[in-house]
Each structure stands twice: as C-alpha cells, then as structure tokens.
C-alpha cells in the first residue's frame, strides 16, 4: 500500500467539454515549432542557421547560459528564420518537415544506468529541457544535482486527461524513464511518484516511491505533492518531470531516434473533444483543425488556469498535454441579469454568493473569459487560504513580493512554490489580481538575487 495523503483545500472547476478515452493519431505535421519562451528565463543561442537542413534529433539551439543544454528538432527538414519579438528576442523556431532522416543513438542500459552517463545522454540527445526544477520553476542547469525528482502521475486541472489516457501503452517506457532518472539521484533514492487515490494504473511501477493523493485540484500539482511528501528547504533543489516526458526519456535513452511523443486532450465547450496522439512542437492549427468552433473562441494550450495563448501559427506548449477551447467573454453584462447582481446560475463560484453550491455536483459550466469584475485592492481575507493547500500564507507571500522584500519572501516559503500553485488563488480572487504573474515576478527577483 502506498502512503496516502488527503488534500482538503482546493477547488474542482467543472467545465463542459470533457474528453473521452479513445485516442487516435494525428497525421504528422508539416512543421515542427519550438517556443523558447516556454522555458522561463532561457536565452537561446541558435546552432542551426536559417535555411540549413537538419535531421530529426539534431540541435536547433542551445542555452546561452549553459551551452551543454541542447534543444533538438523533432523532424528532419529546413530550419526557418526565427520569429522574433521586441529586442530581437526569439519567440519561435520552426523547422519545415521533409524526409525522414534522423540521428540515431545507442541504448543506455536502464538496469546498469550510471548517473553521469544518463546526464550526458539527456543533455546530448535533447531530453534535458523536459526537466524542470524548484526553486524558481525553471529548467535546471546542466550541472544541477537534485535532492529528489518528483513526477505527478495525474493532472487534476479542469478537463485534464487521465494518466491512462496519455500513457496508454507506454508504461514500460515510463518505468525505464524512472530507472534512468533514479540513477541521477543520491543515496539510492527513487523518483517520487504521486498517483490519484484509487487509480491503479501505476501499480506495477517499482522504480518509483508511490504516494497516493485524494482531494480536489491542486492535488495533482507536483508542487503540492512535494510539499506533502518532502517539503523543500532553502538551498535544496528538486526536479520535476511531466509523466509523458518520463516515458519520452525512457524510450529515448533506450536507443534510436529522438522521442517526443505527446498525447493531447482537446477539450472545452467550443471543441469536439478528442484525444490525439502527436508530438511536441505540433502547430496548434493542426490540433484544432475541423474540431473547434473558432469564432469568438479562445484556444488555450494547457488548461484554463495555467495555459497560454500561442498566437498566430504558434505550436502546442512544450509541457502541455491539453488544449482547451472556451468562449471569449467581451460582452458587457447588465448588472441585474448577467452581471454582478444577477442570479448567476451560469457562473461557477467558490463563494456561496452564487448558487453554484446549490446545483447538483455533476453540473458542468460553460465559462467564458470575462473577468467578472474589475481589479481592486485586497479587501477580502481568507479566500486564498481555502484553495491553497500549502503550509504557507499566500496573501502575505504575495504582499512581500509586491514590495520586493527578498528576505521576507524567503522566510514565507517562496522556494517551494511555482506560479501554477497560485492559479486557484487567482481564480477565486474577488479583487481580480494577477496572482500568478506576481509570483513569477517574485521568483525572478529571487533568481536575480542569487545570480
């Protein structure tokens, strides 16, 4: 029996447009795109010039600060001129696919894996960017030595697909991935895997220490799982890896060409939900094609709480396994009917100021992107605490970030958190503050302080 943890604080936002489990493969895209902006703080240094031909698995760019970290192409084809934004910052690198040339690598034996060999292989073959680290929620440096590696075996965000959906037929690859990752941990420690209570999909995974979690979102957030299993202290580094990327690493290091499979759930009220097998770097247009009512719709790569809008010609977010399509909400709302004084049967609220709590538990809501009010100063208290299952005072931490008090941020526990952990605080906020953005700025201040 794995250890089990019950998360009491949180909120499950019930949206329309759930995905069913039958998956089908998306035709190979004619373009592979990678957004360097998906890796917070990354400054890319182009390795492949525009116009050159690359094989699948060949380097496109490296990390300027840590040149051993390589970002590779998933397809063979022609490198395009990078799409740039302000100050010539690279926003996207595209490869137009042609042919099937691929770099092939030998196998790293998972049973006899040596930490340094695995590290070198991950850096060389382009798997390193699949890692994320806490503190600061960034990609770890090439010489980073983690205390633990955490993998969340379920996504509790609204409309997220289950582990069984996204890892169908890939459990062996997942186990191999855990074995490789274990080799990089000190003192014979194992990957920490958090699974959903009652889900036995991972029961055969002996390569990881399993803890089961029950309760509302954010129970599936890896940050919550770290906090419950082995909270982070100042000076410690923990890596986190998405469950599909563990399988990618496992499959990839066993030899052959670059593996970046991604099963994506297309969800939301504006879509015909579908479970699609594709790869990282697939253009969003390929995913939503013929399946989404595009007019007045926001197409989000990721979930409604933490996802991003990818822009014209953008690709699926590097870490995302879900696309959510919801209606935009730029209609002004008359106060008595749909606005602030309306009955609000169509609004999903964590507070009992709306009749959400009177509705049957199964009712699903078609929420749009309306802000439902204007930004205000903090007035209400205790609201964030109810959806924030950390032993951390969220409002006080956010205030310390707002005033830029590094010392206080550290004392209040900023090392343990990532913006996504505050997503529900932002959702429920009466004052409509951009909480995740504030947390990100706080983390950036900490990074600067330590640089």
């Amino acid at each position: 029996m794995p250890a089990s943890v019950k998360i009491r604080k949180g909120l499950d936002i019930r949206l329309k447009g759930t995905v069913q489990s039958a998956s089908h493969a998306l035709p190979a895209a004619d373009r592979f795109s990678i957004h360097p902006t998906d890796f917070h703080g990354l400054v890319p240094r182009m390795a492949a010039k525009a116009g050159t031909e690359v094989k699948a698995g060949e380097v496109l760019f490296t990390d300027k600060k840590s040149p051993d970290i390589k970002f590779v192409s998933a397809v063979s084809g022609t490198v395009q001129e990078p799409v740039r934004g302000e100050k010539r910052r690279i926003l996207r690198v595209d490869v137009v696919a042609s042919g099937t040339d691929a770099v092939s690598h030998p196998s790293v034996d998972p049973t006899a894996a040596e930490g340094d060999a695995v590290r070198a292989a991950m850096l060389e073959r382009g798997y390193w960017p699949m890692l994320r680290q806490r503190p600061f929620d960034v990609m770890p440096a090439a010489d980073s030595r983690p205390r633990d590696i955490f993998v969340s075996g379920f996504d509790s965000a609204p409309l997220a697909p289950t582990a069984a959906m996204v890892l169908e037929g890939r459990l062996d690859a997942f186990r191999a991935g855990c074995a490789y990752l274990n080799s990089m941990l000190p003192n014979g420690r194992k990957v920490q895997l958090g699974v959903k209570a009652g889900d036995d999909f991972f029961s055969s995974v002996s390569e990881a220490d399993i803890t089961s979690f029950s309760g509302p979102h954010p129970a599936g957030n890896v940050g919550v799982q770290i906090h419950e299993v082995a909270p982070m202290n100042k000076g410690e580094v923990v890596w986190t890896v998405g469950m599909q990327d563990v399988a990618n690493i496992g499959e990839g290091l066993m030899g052959g060409s670059y593996v970046c499979k991604r099963t994506v759930a297309l969800t939301g009220s504006r879509s015909q939900p579908a479970l699609l097998r594709t790869t990282i770097g697939t253009p969003m247009a390929d995913i939503v094609k013929d399946r989404v009512m595009m007019e007045d719709t926001r197409v989000i790569s990721g979930n409604v709480l933490t996802g991003s809008v990818r822009g014209e010609d953008g690709a699926l977010g590097f870490f995302d396994q879900q696309v959510t399509c919801i209606p935009e909400g730029h209609e002004p709302l008359f106060f008595l009917t749909k606005g602030w004084l309306g009955p609000g049967f169509d609004k999903f609220s964590a507070s009992r100021a709306f009749p959400t709590w009177l509705m049957p538990k199964g009712k699903e809501y078609d929420l749009n992107t309306n802000n439902n009010g204007e930004e205000r100063a903090f007035v209400v208290s205790g609201q964030y605490d109810a959806v924030f299952p950390f032993d951390i005072y969220p409002v006080q931490l956010i205030k310390s970030i707002m005033v830029g008090d590094i010392d206080r941020m550290e004392k209040l526990g900023i090392y343990e958190v990532a913006p996504e952990d505050f997503a529900l605080c932002e959702y429920v906020c009466t004052s409509k503050l951009a909480v995740q953005d504030i947390v990100r700025k706080g983390l950036d201040q900490m990074i600067e302080e330590f640089a």
């Binding site: 989000i300 935009e328 106060f335 100063a377 208290s381 005072y393 959702y427």
Partner: protein, 416 residues
Amino acid sequence: MKALQKLIEERVKPNFEEGGKLNRFWVVFDALETFLFTPGHTTAKGVHVRDGIDLKRTMFLVIVAMVPALLFGTWNIGHQYYLSIGEITTSDAWSVMFLDKVIVGAIKVVPLIVVSYATGLGIEFVIAGMNGHAINEGFLVSGMLIPLIMPVDVPLWMVAVATAFAVLIAKEVFGGTGMNILNVALTARAFLFFAYPKQMSGEIWIHDVMASKTGGVLADGYTGATALGHLANTVGQPVQGEVSNGVMAMFADGGMFSLMNCFIGNIPGSVAETSALAALIGAAILIWTGIGSWRIISSFIVGGLVMGVIFNALALNAYMTIGPVHQIVMGGFMFGAVFMATDPVSAAQTNTGKWVYGFLGGLFSIMIRVFNPAYPEGVMMAILFMNVMAPTIDHYVIESNIRRREKRLSASAAVA
C-alpha cells in the same frame, strides 16, 4: 438592455472620454457604467476564467445582511417614540400603530442614510478623480453602517462631519479601501463620541423626547436612557443598594430590559444596534455566503460570554451580576460582532489570528463597558483597539509559520 448599453457606449461615453467636455467627471461616469454593466474585460494573463464573485457583489451582500437590523431599527425608533410620549405602553402588541412607528422611524433614518452616503461618496468621487483611480466599493458598506450606529436624534451636520472625518482620516490618508487600519464606520462613531461628548449623551437615543407635544415630559417611568446607560449608574454603588436594586429591577423578567427585550431589541439605543436577533439574522447571511468570518463572529461572542462569566464570579457591583448571555445581547455587542469586527480589512487576516482577534475583542467589549462607565459603548472601543492590534496578532501567527520552516531547514541540515 442591449439598447441601453449601446446608448451609453455611443452617446454618453464619448463626452467623458479623453477630449470630451465632461472628461473631468470620468470617474463618476466609470463608476456608474461599471455599476450598470460589468465591463466586457477579458482575462489577459494567468488564469483564463475567473470566479463570478467581485467586490460589488460582496459589498452588496453585506448590505443585504444589514437590512433586518435596518428595518427593525426603523420600527423601533417609532416604537420608542410612542412609548416616550405615552401613546402606547409596553404591554401593547408590536403591531399597534405599526405604520405610524415605521413612518416616524423612516423620517429619522432616511436622512441619516442620505447624509452619510452623500458625504462619503462625494469625498470618494473627488479623491478618485484627483488620483485618477477607479472608485472603490468599500464605502457602500461603511456608508450604511454609519447611520445604523448613530444615536437617533444626532444632528445631521454631525453625521456629515463624522463621515468626512472617517473617510478622510481613517481611509483615504492610508490609500483608500483595503488599506485602512481602523474600521471606517467605527471611526465616525468614535469621532462623534470624543468630539461632541455633550451631544452624544443623554436623551438622544430616542427620537424627540423633548417634543413640544408632551412639553418635554416623558411618559411615566420612561427615561429614554439605554440599557448600558442605566447600568453605568450602578458602578460604584453597593450591590444591594437602592440605586442598584432599582436598576436591576428593569433587567429582571418583565422589566424593560429583560433578557427577551434585549434580545428582540425593543429598547432605546442607536438606530439599528438594539436587536441581537436582527444582528444574528445578518450573521447567518454573512456566514452562509462565506463573506463574514464565522471564526471572528463566534470567537467574539465566546469572548464576551467568558468575560460575563468572570464578572459573575467577581460580582463586585450590580453591573457584574448581569448574566453573560444578557450582557452580550445588550448594547451594540452583537451588531459589532457581526458587522464591525468582521470587516476583513481592519480585522486579523490569518485564520488563527481571527480566533484570537475575535475572542479578545469580545472580552474587552464587556470589560470596558463594565469597568469604565464613561465609555458605555465598550464594543466600539474594543473593536477599534483590536483593529490596531490585528497586525500584531497576524505578525505572531506568521512568525510561528516562519519558525516552523526554519526548524525544518535546520532538521534537514542536521541529517545531511
């Protein structure tokens, strides 16, 4: 509503926008427009969907919770008035002359509300216009609370001065809604209490006792003083003395200030503070909607009861012998517990802090009223004091959280 929205958007709004001739009234227009229509602003970064709740709905629900107290208070003003001139007696049913009572009450209450809102909102509009920020909803609640805790016959100019003082000094100098340290409505009340002590004592608790109708003569046995005012007279008197016995008779069963009357609230007092029952209905609404902190309300009441029990045990004067339940249903205790102590901006912010804050607030309320008869309304002083103490309480709660984290760090360092 599309038509109205279109009219505002096309005909009215341009006048107030940059370059329009009414541009300097933009904040006023913006406040009214956002009141009528929640703007079609969409989420820009971070979460893509937002909870339906906003500050307008939150504040509105607090006002809804105050309505029972307001309605009861309106009736009670008329009730006390007709008692004082002897047209009815305490044995008459509540419905006798019901309409007359309500009319008398409304004549007193409506101007108070109008003056409070006009003064407060006027100042808010001017300051928001000067600073170029949106008008905050905070005063919607303060502006209703201020008239509800005023003595019935307070001159309107005093209400205006007190409101202006409270909004400017208690709120705007700190940065507006959400930034204040003291509860705005209580600051208005405290201002009057200290600035006009003469006018704030005596027979202003009921309407028009010196009315020409009676030539200034009150009906038999009717003084118009509040329960706390009577009790204050017993301080310093022997427990079984003549004065004490006389006062205590009013608090016995069947007396004017019996437990039941204090609970129902058909006794003299500030506009809407007399009825513990109405305050409890408000509490139910606030707790049910999750807007008022149940931690503060319940611990405040417990704090008051504990002090009542302690005083019962000491029994040094007649005031101390009042039962704990009787203590907390008198005066503004319940109204303060439900509507004043729970103000989220000036109360403690942490859940643990709220327990401490509420408990001490209740404790001090009863302590102040009994120990210092010069301040019959201990609740006001106690809550203002706890407002000042709240950041300190939170500080210690958060320090213990920080220490827990430091302990964890040193424990892990010891292992490594």
